[in-house]
């Protein structure tokens, strides 16, 4: 069955025909052609497909496209300004090593945005809670958490520890 839905996509009103059985993730990736939202598991366990729907971070793989009707959808492609200026969270991920292979990054950034939109100065525990459903295998999360802390105004003691060899005589 097909139906017509109206929604706001990355700030732009849209009207389109969808199939009832499409997941929101399928609709975004395959029908709209926006591939920044990733599929890591298809069953709501990894968070790679996190998008923001009416202000809430959700797993697009667990929603039906039909549920989009009348709502406001934000994907990673809608985060940076039109002139390409990165959103502060994106910039922070870039500057603080929050990105390695990058597959989890769009979902991770969307989860962080949903959190900081509600709680701009979220403490570390809330940050961890907010991204607990976004799995990452590369970073060990440390620099991701640092990236979010840097924009939440809760920059605590950095993890970096300076340690140089005292008796190094092979320096250049």
């Amino acid at each position: 069955m097909a139906r017509e839905i109206s929604f706001v996509f990355n700030g732009n009103p849209m009207k389109t025909i969808i199939e009832d059985h499409w997941t929101l993730l399928h609709f975004i990736r395959e029908e709209l052609g926006y591939t920044g939202t990733k599929e890591g598991c298809g069953s709501g366990e990894c968070g790679a497909c996190t998008v923001i729907l009416d202000g809430e971070a959700i797993n697009a793989c667990l929603y039906l496209a039909a549920e989009l009707d009348g709502k406001d959808l934000l994907t990673i492609e809608g985060l940076a300004a039109a002139d390409g200026t990165l959103h502060p969270i994106q910039k922070s991920f870039v500057d603080n090593g929050g990105i390695q292979c990058g597959f989890c990054s769009p979902g991770m950034i969307m989860s962080a945005k949903a959190l900081l939109d509600k709680t701009p100065s979220a403490p570390e525990a809330e940050i961890k809670e907010a991204i607990a459903g976004n799995l990452c295998r590369c970073t060990g999360y440390v620099q991701i958490i640092d990236s979010i802390k840097a924009v939440s105004g809760h920059e605590e003691e950095p993890h970096v520890v300076a340690f140089k060899s005292e008796d190094n005589d092979r320096g250049e």
């Binding site: 366990e45 994106q90 295998r137």
Partner: protein
């Protein structure tokens, strides 16, 4: 010390902006016009004869363009031992065996077609325990092989272990085991294969070995009767590697076969369940180890024998003993060493390379028994390690030449950062474990080389073509920093291209933590050649002696007279726009002077070695067996941190993967079948599991490394498990010898020590009605 502009800076990854905005394309995001979707039918048995495959109901489905079984395709042999085929014939040897494949116009049709393939099996007795499989008369997994033990003679004996055993004042002997864990790349595996009308192949594939994959695929084409064809391997952005993409796999060959028979591009892409079931794991091990020392605590011998569960086929997992030899012979000074490893076929999933390549398994046994031996000898475990620590200038008994070594300083750093001697609360303990790993390449093949081509455009911008593979670890950025430094440019001026075998030079792949060292040196070599050309041109332009010129801030500058300078771009334009002009381009192939192992496995496999020490403070709950990590410190001798931010990222990521290996991760294999192929049941750590980690960096400036650097990709996960096991022992006096260290195991060990059974009752006083433990 030289004042550096790009090297040593926390430069963001070159591709970070593209990744942060969702613009990079992974295999999941790629489509080729006319593309079909390939799907694979796997075995329903761990071991069975294939009696008959009826594909007729699948073939007749609208939208299905090909259904292939082994009968339909030529024999292609794959894997390290060539004991595997993309589609199985005669029998299946594990649940992940590929039996048939379909290409269809949509993934849904392909999926449906798989359901319509009828396979008749005749079950065969299966073996899941390598020790059982080794027994005389055990059923053979590969009849032609005549034995379940692989003919890979991993044995060495240096010095005289038996004599040393007699001499030793203190000796420990123990058995350790490790289990299956898997890479869990967030981006799943996939490939798109396409033939042109002349049967040249283009394959988009997630691979860490583009040049070697090209060779594998060429061999496959040859088997398909396509001689002298070309193979182009294009790497999309890779969603994590960790060793999983170090071989070529059935799914890639299946994509090639389907594309060949349909004359259409075909994509095979794994879903998460397939990723868990049909990709290879880390090699599980059973290790018997003994170590001994004299009365002063000097190590006298190390004697190790291992059994590795190879699974049903052979990939790089079977060669991990070659790397295990490194810590076994050369972590600390050991004068007498014996090692034997047997890889055994079973009907389990087959293993591959995974970050650390056997080193975590070996180091778990070595460093656990180092603590045990220190206790026997009555020496503080840190002092015991210090007494036996490797030193710069050492040549280990295996022939590893230790050029730089900050091992003792790493231990000091851990002691300080962890506040080792602080009084501990009840249930708290501290533990330490160290590592040695290849840091200057690893001569696995006859070459350990990497090529680089650099060209400079009219505006002094660089296009750098490297054989290296960036799978997220940041090698592109590190290479750009090295080249920018050498040529006096900004990192932004360097565009690194590593994605296409048609344009990129040769390399043996992203393994052995070799990329910074090898590809970095290759890039540096090319940059130096280019620099010489620029200086030569510049000397004429500035009418200054060549040796007085330097490159800095995108300019050619006279060292004694900084006002006398010329923009490098201007120099380039002059070189291009003139009669008898020239272009600026350089190539360099770096092959280090490391050695292949000899017949007795001696040889300096790496040009330099990375050392490190990990320390951890834990709290153990005696009632539940739960372990809480209070603080983790991982200090590494990295030679030189080219990019401290990316380096820390490697360490944090490695440590968290190592903690998962130590505490939570396990492929639950029930008679060869993966029982937890999803993230709900296979527990990789989440953000809530992050422990306080410090990653101090020790710089020893290895003169062979690019700007002094050594490799650091793998070490983060090498000594994690023994450091934690040692801390648990320090906390509550129980030694856990099997991974993962689950609360159940800890609790069982506590109860055993107390002389109680699992349910906390005194031995012999079981009340079966109340004590039910389900394994």
């Amino acid at each position: 010390m030289q004042n550096l502009c790009s090297v040593g800076r926390r430069v963001p990854k070159l591709d970070a902006v593209a990744k942060a905005t969702g613009r990079v394309k992974y295999i999941q995001d790629l489509k080729v016009p006319g593309m079909l979707y390939g799907k694979i039918l796997y075995s329903k048995y761990a071991h069975a004869k294939i009696v008959k495959i009826d594909t007729s109901r699948a073939t007749e489905m609208p939208g299905v363009l090909a259904v292939l079984t082994a009968e339909d395709v030529p024999e292609i042999r794959m894997g390290v031992y060539k004991d595997n085929r993309p589609l199985k014939t005669g029998k299946v040897r594990s649940y992940r065996d590929e039996v048939a494949a379909v290409a269809a116009t949509t993934p849904e049709i392909a999926e449906e077609a798989l359901k319509r393939i009828e396979v008749t099996y005749e079950a065969l007795p299966a073996i899941f325990d390598p020790e059982e499989a080794m027994k005389e008369g055990a059923n053979l997994i590969h009849e032609a092989h005549k034995s379940n033990v692989l003919k890979m003679p991993w044995t060495l004996h240096y010095g005289d272990v038996e004599a040393a055993k007699k001499e030793a004042a203190y000796t420990v002997a123990e058995r350790f085991s490790t289990t299956w864990v898997t890479h869990c790349c967030m981006g799943t595996s996939g490939a798109i294969a396409e033939f042109d009308p002349a049967n040249n192949l283009t394959i988009h594939s997630n691979t860490q070995i583009p040049s070697l994959a090209q060779k594998d695929f060429l061999e496959a084409l040859k088997a398909m009767g396509l001689k002298d064809r070309r193979v182009r391997v294009i790497k999309p952005c890779i969603g994590g590697g960790f060793g999983s993409k170090l071989d070529t796999y059935a799914y890639e060959y299946i994509a090639i076969l389907l594309a060949f028979y349909t004359r259409r591009p075909v994509k095979v892409e794994f879903d998460r369940t397939e990723e868990f079931i049909a990709t290879s794991t880390r090699q599980p091990t059973i290790t018997h180890i003994s170590q001994g020392c004299d009365k002063n605590g000097r190590l006298l011998f190390r004697d190790v024998s291992m059994i590795l569960d190879n699974g049903a086929y052979t990939s790089w997992g079977a060669t991990t003993p070659s790397v295990m030899m490194m810590p076994i012979t050369s972590l600390y000074r050991v004068p007498n060493v014996r090692y034997e490893a047997k890889c055994v076929y079973t009907n389990n999933t087959y293993a591959q390379a995974m970050r650390g390549y056997g080193n975590p398994q070996a180091t778990f046994a070595i460093e656990s028994t180092m603590d045990m031996l220190a206790e026997s000898a009555g020496i503080d475990p840190v002092e015991f390690r210090r007494l036996n620590a490797n030193q710069a200038g050492d040549v280990s008994i295996q022939g590893l030449r230790i050029t730089t070594c900050g091992l003792e300083q790493c231990m000091d750093s851990v002691k300080t950062q962890l506040e080792w001697n602080q009084p501990k609360n009840e249930g708290e303990g501290v533990g330490m474990a160290s590592l040695i790993h290849v840091g200057g390449g690893a001569r696995v093949y006859k070459s350990d080389g990497c090529g680089t081509i650099i060209k400079m455009d009219d505006f002094a911008k660089i296009d750098l073509f490297t054989g290296a593979t960036d799978m997220g670890q940041g090698s592109d950025t590190v290479i750009a920093q090295i080249v920018a430094e050498e040529l006096g440019l900004e990192v932004d001026d360097i565009h690194v291209i590593h994605t296409d075998t048609d344009v990129c030079p040769w390399d043996v792949g992203a393994h052995a933590s070799r990329t910074t060292f090898i590809a970095g040196n290759a890039a540096l070599g090319a940059a130096r050649k280019l620099k010489a050309r620029i200086l030569e041109l510049g000397a004429k332009q500035l009418e200054a002696p060549l040796e007085k010129l330097t490159l800095r801030d995108r300019h050619l500058i006279h060292q004694d007279d900084p006002e006398k300078k010329l923009e490098i771009g201007k120099l380039l334009r002059k070189a291009h726009f003139s009669h008898g002009g020239q272009m600026l381009m350089a190539e360099y192939f770096f092959d280090p002077t490391n050695e292949n192992m000899g017949k007795d496995f001696r040889g300096n496999m790496s040009m330099t070695y990375t050392f490190g020490t990990h320390g951890v403070r834990v709290k153990v709950d005696r009632e539940t067996g739960k372990i809480k990590i209070l603080q983790y410190v991982a200090t590494h001798d990295v030679g030189r941190a080219i990019n401290p931010m990316l380096l820390e990222g490697q360490v944090y990521g490695g440590v968290m993967m190592g903690i998962g290996y130590a505490l939570t991760e396990q492929v639950l294999s029930e008679k060869g079948q993966n029982m937890n192929p999803n993230f709900r049941d296979y527990k990789i750590l989440t953000a809530k599991d992050v422990v306080p980690i410090k990653a101090p960096v020790l710089e020893t400036y290895d003169e062979d490394g690019p700007f002094g650097a050594k490799g650091i990709g793998e070490p983060g996960c090498v000594p994690t498990a023994p450091a934690i096991a040692n801390a648990i022992y320090d906390a509550i006096g129980v030694r856990i010898k099997d991974l993962p260290i689950t609360p159940e195991r800890v609790l069982a060990a506590i109860r055993e020590k107390q002389g109680l059974d699992l349910c906390g009752q005194e031995a012999g006083k079981d009340d079966a009605g109340e004590c039910i433990i389900e394994e």
